[in-house]
Symmetry: C2
């Protein structure tokens, strides 16, 4: 239907750029950021390299735009839903996170590596994502977040939640590489349990 | 006394290299790996850059040697002592780790960043260190390690211990940057508690 309403030739530059980012994020699911070249995207999208440089300037800008989009996607798919049962909501968010990492394993692992490494801008994007992912545990989900379970929002609990996010990242990437270590249900229970273990330990 | 027994001019090349690494590790405590130049070490050690290149070949080899030594130091200072009370032994090891990170904050943070980033050799050194630090929880300390507390040595518990190591790294670096979040005793209790929380969650 949309092809009738908006013929491809009349697509706005913004919409076209978004579509190219879709391609980029899709490519990133099965390859590392290093392997994500302008050439690969040009081939995938069926357009010239020149046009891609027109949209993204250079490879670094292209990478930043793809990572920003991937990070937005991750924050969106793991957003906790409204509801009362916080443990259930958390487990659903964790499952969405696990599914995301499994589906985008190679690219996600490279993103985590890169975020720790050189490019300050990518590091910042990664930090923002982590702040969004952990911060909303206090603010969203059942309105008051984990505070409704009796955990105060203190520098100490914030620090432990950040630490737990590192645990979750390490464990989920490890599990995605070798899922024989435990069942997915056990994985989700282990992640939720270790969060409360970390919070209990801090309070 | 040693200056009488072994005058400086007769120091073996191996011993001299070790001494230069001592200087390098000391420099790394207050600066990042990027800032650890051959020039800085030459100045610190009072020898020529040329001689340093003679000992280490190039900057990359020099960095690898310093990081290998720093990692050995970390593994050594946090080695669990013999004994019965595993929680006490663990807490002592954790305190040594916290003290190490606080004393070497800038260099350690850069080492963690670098280990996640580009240089494959440095990443391997870091992985070895982490394997040593976490593996001995199963093998050393009270002979059978955490198995004596009733935790089996399974792929699942190994995965959670690796995850907890990421938590500990994140939390201790965060705390070293801002120690107002909690007291050192609370930090140690939080780290130990979250380890058992993670293990409990996995079993």
């Amino acid at each position: 239907m949309s092809t009738v309403d908006t013929p491809r030739v009349r697509m706005t530059p913004e919409r076209r750029r978004e579509q190219l980012l879709d391609h980029g994020v899709r490519l990133l699911s099965t390859r590392s950021l290093d392997e994500l070249s302008i050439e690969a995207l040009a081939e995938e999208a069926g357009i010239s390299r020149g046009l891609l440089y027109h949209y993204f300037g250079n490879k670094q800008e292209f990478h930043r735009a793809v990572v920003a989009r991937a990070v937005d996607d991750l924050v969106a798919v793991t957003a906790p839903r409204e509801g009362e049962d916080l443990v259930e909501i958390l487990t659903e968010s964790l499952e969405a996170y696990v599914d995301y990492v499994v589906a985008n394993r190679v690219g996600y692992a490279s993103l985590v590596r890169t975020a720790h490494g050189g490019d300050e801008h990518l590091r910042e994007l990664y930090e923002q994502a982590r702040s969004a992912l952990t911060g909303r545990m206090f603010e969203r989900a059942g309105e008051t977040g984990i505070r409704s379970l009796g955990y105060d929002d203190t520098p100490a609990t914030r620090l432990m939640v950040r630490g737990w996010a590192s645990l979750a990242e390490e464990v989920v990437l490890g599990w995605a590489n070798d899922p024989t270590a435990m069942s997915k249900d056990d994985l989700l229970a282990s992640l939720a349990g270790s969060l409360f273990g970390a919070l209990d330990a801090a309070t």
